[in-house]
Symmetry: C2
Subunit: 251 residues, 2 copies
DNA sequence: TAGTGGTCTAGACCACATT
DNA sequence: ATGTGGTCTAGACCACTAA
């Protein structure tokens, strides 16, 4: 009677990740109108024919994304969408979500040629190579908003110039295209959040008054060898954007 | 010859957490001048007489705190302090770190009596009870800075008024004192980061010009039953404070 | 090829919440 | 008393890196 597609390992994806994807889709689809009706670990083990380890790894992902909450003795409940943040929020807990965050917003960008890394950024990462980085500039908009929610400047390391030239606007995010074109993997992202005043060009692009407060997010994309291959600087209008996150307690 | 205090379970603390505490102390103490000299999983298993599960749980904590990086095939290396963020940074990945973040800064606060929750906050959490919350106000300063790095307003839920009256300034953070005084546990924190203009009182307290950009962090402290028992609103001067974080890649 | 960390199994005992 | 999720063991196989 069990028609569920068994969680296999054929595609190369770990089982716990495939299981997490499956359960995440169910939750976002609204399959659990009653939050307490989420299956227990033992049920998931039986239903998908995997060990408890695999189930727990999958649920750990969902918990870190804020989709479920777990309590010893009681069980697992899905977190109501209302508690997951309001309209202008961007909850992020892993690289996958940075991609997925494009869900209900759209991003268009265009190539700006090559340039030395702006001084603020080169100081920030301690880069003194002085090479020319490929530069892209983009705007993120959200339906129902009266203006863009982000202006993003993206810089690609000089060593990846060949791949950078093949990047096409309006498809995947820049770092995903880079992964594919240059055959590299992203290991982690470091992020720096600061409040700044809108400079004239930023204010114009975001359609906000000059000097109005902006959230600036500096991201460094790092490969497994600790090389920074991409840097992005995003400016978000203070009144149209909030960065939401949740932090689990130590047990 | 092994004089290491065995990782026990007597104190009630899980073994993996005791191990993480031990290794974290070693790293912060500078016991690994050569970052690559960090022990492998099998060495840690043998040295502390625990299973690989326990070791990996401990290392998972340290990795989420950005203290170590791990690579299949190569090994585990401690993350050089330089790569963990510069002077004004506050890296946070769990509740423990929010406490620990007091490391090289000092925080003083004073009671401000009781007040209805400010409208901005009550709207944010959807609270319409209208009760009077205990209010504390504090300043965080950092040695070597020419001004405070945070102005924090903390509000305690009316139900905890009895405990709130016993809170003493200049000791533990408010939420730690609440845990002790009211016998509650904190399950998680939700956080909202936004850029705002300094209002007159905020500007005066932070010693910055009026309307200068500020990072505002709204925190809701939630108990295991999903009740918000504390809310805090922190304002950080844009030019003296950055919020740093790191995000691991999906495997 | 040897050794690393990543995934996975099948068990076990426990603290805790609910019945 | 039952069942939940949290901790922990002892194995195993694998993908990957480095020598």
């Amino acid at each position: 009677m069990d028609l569920s597609i068994a969680i296999r390992n054929g595609n190369g994806k770990p089982r716990y990740q495939a299981l997490a994807d499956e359960l995440r889709a169910e939750i976002l689809r609204g399959d659990y109108p009653d939050p307490a009706q989420f299956p227990t670990e033992s049920i998931l083990c039986a239903r998908y024919g995997v060990s408890r380890f695999t189930v727990r790894e999958a649920l750990r992902s969902l918990q870190s994304e804020g989709l479920i909450q777990r309590r010893r003795g009681s069980g697992t409940v899905v977190q109501p969408a209302a508690a997951r943040g309001g309209a202008l929020h961007q909850p992020l807990s892993n690289v996958g979500e940075i991609l997925q965050y494009a869900r209900d917003s759209s991003y268009v960008f265009e190539p700006m040629g090559t340039t030395p890394l702006p001084r603020k950024l080169s100081v920030h990462i301690g880069d003194a190579s002085g090479g020319r980085w490929h530069h892209f500039r983009g705007l993120r908009t959200r339906q129902g908003e009266q203006g863009p929610i982000a202006l993003t400047d993206t810089y690609i390391h000089p060593d990846l110039a060949a791949a950078a030239r093949q990047i096409r606007p309006n498809e995947d995010p820049v770092f995903r295209q880079l992964e594919r074109l240059a055959g590299l993997r992203i290991a982690r992202i470091t992020q720096d959040i600061q409040a700044v005043s809108a400079s004239a060009p930023v204010a114009a692009a975001l359609d906000v008054p000059r000097r109005s407060p902006c959230l600036r997010i500096l991201r460094c994309f790092v490969d497994p060898s600790d090389r920074i291959f991409e840097i992005s600087a995003s400016h978000h209008p203070g009144d149209r954007f909030a960065y939401a996150m949740h932090i689990e307690a130590d047990k």
